[in-house]
């Protein structure tokens, strides 16, 4: 049985639903009026460290951050 369901344009371009949904949300957040906009941006800031593991050892971690380094 071939799946001939019409795919949304973002899926056809290789984007996943999560990416699409996050892009929509950040666009909406950028159109907020001033005090709410800065609260929303502050709320969505992320700060984490990520490292790939291979052969049971972790390689050098990289820090992904929206908060400026002090």
């Amino acid at each position: 049985m071939s799946s001939s369901a019409a795919v949304p344009f973002w899926r056809a371009a290789g984007m996943t639903y999560i990416t699409y949904s996050n892009i929509c949300a950040s666009l909406v957040r950028n159109c907020l009026k001033e005090p709410y906009k800065s609260e929303a941006i502050a709320r969505e800031k992320v700060h984490y460290s990520i490292s790939k593991w291979s052969d049971g050892k972790s390689e050098k971690p990289t820090i992904r951050s929206d908060v400026a380094e002090d």
Binding site: F9, A12, G14, M15, C24, L27, V28, C31, L32, A40
Partner: protein, 203 residues
């Protein structure tokens, strides 16, 4: 033995069909508030202590589907960081589904709808509250409870129209100059969201 197994299967299928295809219904069975098998097993081994409360007893049971259509709809609007509406009894909600604006009244058939960026309106008596949602899903259950989940839901008066116009112009321009599929898709998303915000401002 296997032949008997086949005939059992056939007989139960016939019985199911004969009863009028009621064996499949969209209702999930109500879950008991206490896990009775656990309690009995506990009492057999440790009769003197009370059995500890399991997670199941802390959960509120699913409200049953009433036999007649209820007069109010119970709506929940949840964001990842906040519960905007929590078990509010309203008359109607209009959700921006990808297939168009959908009105949900009490007694609506159980539906799962994907939402597009647009206006969600909650009608309660003479009160009308509108939110602009950035997409998400709406789950309408057969017991007239509706759960709407989205990433951002903002009251219309918090939208800045200058930023909306600027974004719309910017993304229309990006759409014209986009080359790869991904760029085109991102520009198209930008145009869709900003046009929806624009029509929310003017509605």
């Amino acid at each position: 033995m296997l032949r008997r197994g086949c005939s059992f299967l056939v007989r139960s299928c016939e019985r199911g069909v004969a009863v009028g295809a009621r064996s499949f219904s969209a209702d999930a069975p109500a879950v008991a508030a206490v896990d009775s098998t656990f309690v009995e097993a506990w009492k057999k081994i440790i009769p003197n202590l009370d059995p500890p409360k399991t997670l199941l007893s802390y959960m509120r049971p699913r409200p049953p589907t009433p036999s007649s259509i209820p007069s109010k709809l119970t709506v929940n609007l949840a964001l990842p960081y906040s519960s905007v509406i929590s078990s509010k009894e309203v008359d109607m909600v209009i959700i921006p589904a990808t297939t168009g604006q959908m009105g949900v009244l009490p007694g609506h058939v159980a539906t799962i709808a994907e939402l597009k960026p647009g206006i969600l309106s909650v009608h309660e008596g003479n009160d009308l509250t509108k939110y602009f949602v950035s997409g998400g899903f709406a789950f309408i259950h057969s017991n007239s409870h509706t759960d709407i989940v989205t990433i951002e839901a903002i009251p219309i008066d918090r939208i800045d129209s200058a930023l909306v116009q600027k974004g719309l112009a910017e993304f229309t321009q990006k759409l014209n100059s986009a080359s790869t599929d991904l760029e085109k898709a991102e520009a198209q998303i930008g145009v869709d969201v900003h046009s929806a915000l624009n029509s929310a401002l003017t509605s």
